[in-house]
């Protein structure tokens, strides 16, 4: 199963085995505008669900990226650190922020699937 799940703060996570890949949604990158700076977590960092895990900054503002689930970071995405604009180009693909091993896969059940997230976005309009 590798379908994406979403938080109300516009992070996504896709899971393969016990490894989750986390990024921000296309909606989020669009709302942020031009991304000019990204900070990703170091490998080994322990994150609880909802912890501030990364930072994404547009020309005008800084935003936190929260971890959708608990786990241990295995990798931050150096590509978006080197080239923050990639977040605008491919937020839900190549511009993932970090990978982590899930501590409690049951936490995924609290997140929205694509259909639920799309419906949630409509409520924000």
């Amino acid at each position: 199963m590798s379908s994406k799940r979403f938080t109300k703060d516009h992070e996504w996570i896709s899971v393969e085995g016990d490894v989750g890949t986390v990024g921000i949604s296309d909606y989020a990158q669009h709302a942020l505008g031009d991304v000019v700076f990204v900070e990703v977590p170091d490998s080994g960092r322990q994150l609880a669900k909802g912890d501030e895990a990364a930072v994404v900054e547009s020309v005008k503002a800084a935003s936190e990226v929260y971890s959708p689930v608990s786990g241990t970071v295995t990798k931050g995405n150096q590509a978006i650190v080197d080239q923050p604009g990639l977040v605008n180009e491919d937020a839900e693909g190549a511009a993932w922020f970090f990978k982590l091993t899930l501590a409690n896969p049951a936490e995924l059940d609290d997140l929205m699937d694509q259909a639920a997230y799309d419906a949630y976005l409509k409520t924000l309009e």
């Binding site: 505008g33 031009d34 000019v36 700076f37 900070e39 930072v55 900054e57 547009s58 020309v59 005008k60 503002a61 800084a62």
Partner: protein, 371 residues
């Protein structure tokens, strides 16, 4: 009614901004375009390489007329308005009795008895009340509410104007003239607030949309919003009222003492003159400086500045990513002893002390047309 419930005022170009796909945001009580579909980054870079049109109609325009207009305005600002030639524009500030800055403004001399002012949107009613309180009955004061203000900025501005108004291209930086742009009467200054060559054009509201469409149709001109305007003026090292200067900062602390001529520094005669003269003689307690983070993380307004040992020095007043500088740029207030270019500082960003240094301003060289 809370501020957020107050209906926003609209500028005459509101419908055009929406037609162009602008994202409109509340700014100083107005719905203003913060960016267009191209985005802040593209608009910023285009202003530095081509030309961009900004709607700054939220700003205040006013005029002062009367035989004593110059000497009376000099009682409120430290600028040398007597020495200002007819057809010339000067940057100045209104000061308070503590020498703090009530607003910054552009003053143009249309005639010895006729001054034209451009003041900040958020301050315009207070500024006008200030003018009425001190000069009312002695000069004729008029808030100009029937005119819009458009700024064409960038190295391509002159090429865009060349066919629409060739005489405008003979103007030099900080001059003002009544010109006709594609048949539309305009009061234009060769100025702006981006660090680039360009014009600010005061135009009758009824003609504003026609002028905007004409300028946007000129080769190489794209619309740009307040987002790009802010990053452009930051790179240019120019002060934003309310962020970089306010009632707690004097022109000396703000490092804009150059707005005062030798005569005004010596004679005084404006609010807070004694305090400003003392700071000129003894040095100010703190100074606005350019600050460049060594890393990539932007340091935004209110970021704490410390010395290398971690002692608090002050805070960033404006900061962010400079698209043309290619990295983070900032300005902040530090004690005068830490103001020398190259001084090592730390900026506390998200709890971490980041390396930074005092940098020369502007971050991007000004490219005004001096003739």
């Amino acid at each position: 009614m809370s501020e957020s419930d107050t209906p926003l005022l609209t500028v005459p170009l509101d419908a055009l901004h929406r037609e162009l796909g602008a994202k409109m945001v509340p700014f100083a009580g107005y719905a203003m375009p913060v960016q267009y579909p191209a985005g802040v980054l593209a608009e910023h870079l285009h202003t530095r390489s081509g030309a961009a049109l900004f709607d700054v109609s939220h700003m205040g325009q006013a005029e002062i007329r009367g035989p004593k207009a110059v000497e009376l305005l000099e009682t409120l600002v430290p600028g040398d308005i007597q020495a200002l030639g007819i057809g010339k524009t000067r940057y100045s500030v209104f000061t308070n009795d503590q020498g703090g800055i009530l607003d910054d403004l552009m003053i143009s001399k249309l005639a010895d008895d006729h001054l034209f002012l451009v003041i900040n949107a958020a301050c315009k009613h207070a500024d006008f009340a200030h003018l009425v309180r001190h000069l009312g009955g002695k000069v004729e004061l008029r808030m100009i509410e029937d005119r819009s203000l458009l700024a064409l900025q960038g190295p391509g501005a002159a090429a865009a104007m060349a066919t629409l108004c060739p005489e405008a291209c003979a103007m030099t930086f900080m001059t003002i003239a009544e010109i006709t742009v594609a048949g539309i009467p305009v009061l234009a200054t060769r100025s702006g607030y981006t660090g680039e060559d360009g014009w600010e054009m005061s135009v009758a509201n009824a003609d504003a949309e026609k002028l905007a469409r004409t300028l946007l149709a000129a080769p190489g001109v794209m619309p740009a919003g307040l987002g790009a305007r802010d990053s452009l003026r930051l790179e240019a090292g120019l002060c934003l009222y309310g962020s970089d200067i306010d009632t707690t900062t004097t022109p000396v602390q703000a490092n804009i003492a150059w707005i005062m001529s030798k005569r005004r520094k010596t004679e005084g005669g404006f609010p807070g003159a004694a305090i400003i003269q003392k700071q000129l003689a003894e040095g100010p307690p703190t100074l606005r400086v350019g600050i460049q983070p060594d890393g990539k993380a932007p340091a935004r307004a209110h970021t704490e500045i410390t010395d290398e040992a971690g002692n608090r020095l002050g805070e960033i007043c404006s900061g962010g990513f400079g698209p043309s500088a290619g990295g983070p740029v900032a300005m902040g207030y530090v004690p005068a002893a830490f103001a020398a270019i190259g001084t090592r500082l730390k900026l506390v960003v998200r709890g971490k002390a980041m390396d930074a240094h005092v940098s020369a301003l502007p971050f991007v060289p000004h490219r005004y047309f001096k003739g």
